[in-house]
């Protein structure tokens, strides 16, 4: 992909890159042979292509630790290609896809299939293999074989590895290959038949609740295992204030724990279940009746309380939460157009996450530099990708160009994803990804 020798010169750039700790205006960036070749105030080079960015932001391409691409098996929901198109339209240049396909990605054959399909995709697709065969929680996958085939991490995401002995051995064995385990933390018995956060909305509306405890107990168990074994562990989609406290105190005593949070958990709380607008001024694409019990508010873990959202934002700001990941979970519209309790869990996020990140800057939760750390640098470090996550000279030329002043309204009908199940339809966004570049080539142009 990057064997070409072509060159692209970006003029008049505002570079924002946590990896180099640079937030500087009036720079030129030369991309050559798929890599960052030079960064300087004024580069005079006869490049094949020159783009004047007129002060727009250049940030390292976002790296999503957590997406569901549904292929193989559920191509009607999303394919590797449609998911990758959605990714680059949203500023993501690398996406790590979870193993809960059909068949499950628990063998080198499936991993290779994903990589073959991804060869024509505009984003870099990184297969995450299952922890257990068939994600059944009983036997370990062949981690060595899968690593050799290209798996970047292991996860039974969507399910928890309930057997602590199996999880222990998975952590021990994966450390042989320096591959992280990405843990979906959930105590199944406490989760039970819950569909929304157990709190004031479930109390008032009779929808079965999912207690924060279901998540917290399993986060505690996962951290204890990692601490005991002295191995790294990554916590997926952290959603609770107590989970934040557990991760923060574990980090303070030196446990190698990292965590991600999703944009929906950072922007929405349980009240969205009965009022999707929830204080947001939406355009009129949704009828008032559609704001109640809308299944685009159903995901696991669920939208939590206001207190949890506040704790997540604080944790994102102070670095307790290392990364923003979307948990992009496409479902066909008709699958979601059912009774709330019957609807599948999950929302999409690839085409709104970076824009919501820009809102976090507007809302003074993050600085621009911190945003690139959460979207790019930290995810690359967690997955051990040393060629990306920053735009230092020599790194892959994977980047997004952002117009921080280009306001737009989220319209799911215009998504590149096959799916429309976003809770952010009608939201005003303060800025937008206008170009995405992978290996020095423009793969998305607004």
């Amino acid at each position: 992909m990057s064997s070409n020798n072509s060159s692209l010169l970006l003029k008049n750039v505002s570079l924002i890159d946590a990896g180099q700790n640079r937030d500087e205006k009036n720079l030129d960036i030369l991309l050559q042979a798929g890599k960052v070749a030079e960064i300087a105030p004024a580069i005079s080079f006869a490049a094949d292509q020159v783009i004047d960015l007129d002060g727009a932001w250049v940030m390292p391409g976002a790296i999503d630790l957590h997406v569901h691409l549904r292929e193989p098996g559920f191509e009607y929901k999303e394919t590797i290609l449609s998911g990758a198109r959605a990714a680059v339209a949203g500023g993501f240049t690398s996406i790590a896809c979870m193993a809960n396909t059909r068949p499950v990605n628990d063998s080198a054959a499936v991993t290779r299939f994903i990589l073959e399909q991804a060869a024509v995709a505009p984003a870099k697709v990184l297969p995450i293999a299952a922890i257990s065969k068939g994600m059944a929680g009983e036997e370990l996958v062949e981690m060595g074989d899968l690593s050799a085939a290209g798996a970047v991490a292991f996860s039974d995401d969507g399910k928890t590895v309930a057997n602590s002995k199996l999880l222990r051995h998975a952590l021990e064995y994966a450390s042989l290959f320096n591959k992280p385990l990405l843990c979906h933390c959930q105590d199944n018995a406490l989760f039970a038949d819950g569909v929304i956060h157990e709190g004031m909305i479930s109390a008032a509306h009779g929808l079965p609740g999912i207690p924060t405890l279901a998540e917290d107990i399993d986060i505690a168990r996962s951290i204890m295992l990692a601490e005991y074994l002295k191995v790294p562990i990554h916590i997926c989609h952290l959603s609770t204030a107590e989970g934040v406290r557990l991760v923060r105190s574990a980090k303070a005593r030196g446990v190698k724990v990292t965590a991600e949070a999703t944009p929906h958990h950072l922007f929405l709380d349980e009240r969205a279940v009965i009022d999707l607008a929830c204080g947001e001024v939406l355009d009129d694409s949704l009828k008032p009746e559609q704001l109640r019990y809308n299944t685009v508010t159903k995901m696991s873990p669920p939208l939590r309380s206001v207190v949890d959202v506040r704790a997540l934002r604080e944790a994102l700001a102070d670095g307790t939460i290392d990364a923003i990941a979307t948990d992009h979970a496409p479902h066909e519209t008709t699958e979601k157009a059912v009774e709330y309790e019957l609807a599948p869990f999950g929302v999409i996020g690839l085409e709104t996450a970076v824009a919501l990140g820009l809102r976090l800057i507007k809302e003074k939760v993050l600085t621009p530099l911190e945003l690139t750390a959460r979207l790019s640098l930290a995810p690359a470090e967690i997955l051990g990708l040393d060629d990306r996550g920053s735009l230092a000279v020599g790194m892959a030329a994977d980047l997004m160009i952002v117009d921080p002043e280009l306001e737009w309204t989220v319209d799911p009908e215009k998504f590149y994803s096959k799916a429309r199940n976003t809770p952010f339809a009608g939201w005003r966004m303060p800025g937008r990804v206008v170009k995405t570049i992978v290996d020095g080539k423009v793969v998305f142009n607004l």
């Binding site: 008032a204 009779g206 109640r292 019990y293 059912v338 009774e339």
Partner: protein, 309 residues
């Protein structure tokens, strides 16, 4: 009468004025049950579909009798005869019913929000006859109608609701309707059947023990214990539940001397209520059933949109 809604989905959305005018209207329908010919032509030519996705005998029968006494054509559709068993989605089922142009659809469904989903989809007016553990507005309104026969419904009145609050749509609809009218509501349940954060609902008093909930109360509302819930580890045994939470003669003595006893039915005798109390002079359980027909006539008449001659 200033009813601002297309549908009756819950008591949560009703104002005090709307509740009171529905009760007044129901009051005027009561006497029809006393006539030798129990029929008025109010909804002649209107079609009422009773769409029941969950088994129910008494609520469905009550709606059916109410519709027929108003001269509407009442059609019953239950899940076992509908296409749900063939895997059809709720919206497809409802689209098909809508295509037959009913005027009113009465819905009972095991999941929260099903009636709302249908109401949003169809032109017909929808009455929620129970959606999961969320709402059962006509039950609450008939309970209020029954209370109003004995008590002044408003501030100063105290109602105790005792039983499986967490899984009860009857409890929720009563809580919204009663608190809207300024009635003090006490709820009492084993901690395993009390929703977390329930105490955040304004106007609600959460009691740990039935004795505390019953003290001096004007109305006692006992909820049915669903015996099949036992396997969900919510309480150790029926016997234990009956001992601690069941309404017996001694406990009832804690309530006001003129307190009335209500139950939405069907009763588990000897579990949440002893036969002595259920059949006693303070019980108004069968009045609730009679009032159910009058109240549902009022609701169907209101939504059927024709003046009563």
């Amino acid at each position: 009468m200033g009813f601002e809604h297309k549908d009756l989905l819950g008591t949560r959305d009703l104002s005090a004025i709307e509740i009171r005018s529905l009760l007044e209207s129901a009051e005027s329908f009561k006497e029809i049950a006393e006539r030798p010919l129990k029929k008025v032509p109010a909804l002649r030519g209107k079609t009422v579909v009773n769409l029941f996705f969950e088994p129910s005998t008494r609520t469905r029968t009550s709606f059916e009798i109410a519709a027929k006494r108003l001269s509407a054509d009442a059609v019953n559709m239950s899940a076992s005869t509908s296409s749900v068993v063939k895997g059809e989605s709720l919206l497809d089922t409802v689209d098909n019913i809508q295509a037959m142009a009913p005027d009113i659809i009465v819905v009972r469904h095991k999941f929260v929000g099903a009636a709302h989903m249908i109401a949003e989809r169809v032109g017909a007016r929808v009455v929620n006859a129970g959606d999961g553990a969320n709402e059962h507005p006509t039950q609450a309104l008939l309970d209020l109608l029954t209370i109003s026969e004995h008590k002044r419904l408003g501030p100063g009145l105290t109602v105790a609701i005792i039983g499986d609050i967490a899984h009860s749509r009857v409890a929720r609809s009563n809580i919204w309707a009663l608190t809207t009218l300024g009635v003090t509501v006490r709820v009492c349940a084993p901690p395993t059947m009390l929703p977390r954060e329930l105490e955040k609902i304004p106007g609600l008093v959460v009691c740990e023990r039935p004795e505390e909930a019953l003290a001096g109360v004007d109305v006692v509302m006992m909820l049915r214990i669903q015996l099949e819930r036992q396997d969900r580890l919510l309480f150790p045994s029926i016997r234990d539940y009956a001992r601690i939470f069941g309404l017996n003669r001694q406990r009832l003595d804690l309530a006001a001397a003129d307190a009335i006893v209500m139950h939405p039915g069907p009763i588990n005798r000897g579990v949440e209520i002893t036969s002595e109390v259920a059949d006693g002079s303070r019980a108004v359980i069968l009045n609730q059933v009679s009032n159910g027909v009058a109240l549902r006539m009022a609701v169907l008449f209101l939504l059927g949109g024709q003046s009563y001659e």
